[in-house]
Symmetry: C2
Subunit: 244 residues, 2 copies
Amino acid sequence: MTYCVAMNLADGLVFVSDSRTNAGVDHIATFRKLYRFGIPGERLIVLQTAGNLATSQAVVSLLRHRLTGEGIHLNNVPTLFAAARLVGETMREVVAHDSAPGTGPEIDMTSSFLIGGQIAGEEPELYNLYPQGNFICATTDTPYFQIGESKYGKPILDRALSYTTSLDLAMRCALISFDSTIRSNLSVGMPLDLMVYRKDSLELPAGHRITEGDPYFEAIREQWCSNLRHLLKELPTAPTFYLD
Amino acid sequence: MTYCVAMNLADGLVFVSDSRTNAGVDHIATFRKLYRFGIPGERLIVLQTAGNLATSQAVVSLLRHRLTGEGIHLNNVPTLFAAARLVGETMREVVAHDSAPGTGPEIDMTSSFLIGGQIAGEEPELYNLYPQGNFICATTDTPYFQIGESKYGKPILDRALSYTTSLDLAMRCALISFDSTIRSNLSVGMPLDLMVYRKDSLELPAGHRITEGDPYFEAIREQWCSNLRHLLKELPTAPTFYLD
């Protein structure tokens, strides 16, 4: 499985992805699911992927190989909307190619993508691209998207995140969301790939990989768990008729 | 959908169920999913249900109608294990009856059950009965079970609940788990049915129904949400290279 979250906030964009892939519980591996495109000072486009790994890798490879070609590519699309369309079309192309007759039993060849970034002269944008290749755009009402195993980590995002949350706080919120998910689903796992983009900087962030035993991640997951238990104890005791 | 949680702890048993049923998003209704059987001073058996409502209601009706008969029933089974077997057999009987040829297109007729309680001379027990009619028993390692929409509300249980958690605290933990689920899934909804049983009391608790606007539930969900946001702010700031 996979878990990716991306946020488009007042101060910029936050992306976090896990890196576990699996076919059954006895065939797991580590693959990066966060990809960066762009030109410093002009554009940043970040892709996160879930679903069929062969498809998502092929899509990213084609998008990369075509960067130097004549046609439309991620380094010359005029808007993030056009970037999302291009990713959707490339995914349809890959799925059509790989689903050709004679390729064996029917399996789901599709992938999902989160596509976020900023192009000079435009606002930062974030798109959630469905397995069908169409997509929706994040707004101030709904400033984040998840793909993959989204349920375990959703309550903390809904309770603590809003469009005006600072990048630093939003990143902590995402990491707690990942901790909840990793504890509950074996098929979501470390390392985590993290990227934070400050609005209008038009820089290509290096990003950071959080590996098993990372001191900061360990510190916040332990503090969170212990303080959460404390919070529960602090809640008022129920009226006695609740317990009768 | 449905969300039910049950816990078998050192001090006794805790059961919480929602009461929303739906067929699509435009056909919702309120049905109780927590049922109490027993004889004061001798036995308590609590059932919670998820899945096909016609099946779970038929199972509970048959179990109730047979209480005065000659055969094995919930008021004379010698153990909770035998009670769980009886519920499983009754479910198979209902599913076989309702799946008779000529009853129309294939739909899933099965239900899941949580079955917990205590019979005089035995320890309290809790069983999770699968749609196939077989079941597993809660232990000190895994003292709780969920049925229905379990994912949103699982992290708080995993972080804060253990076999030695007090009944009062466990109930608050269950209510927070319900709040997380209700916020995320429209098909899980109020009112909530709650029952707490103190080990070896052999009483039949009246239970409590938490309706929309319940002052205690409102107070703890607000306090939880606000303190959780505070907790996140208190976590140490990430090293700067996380944000580059």
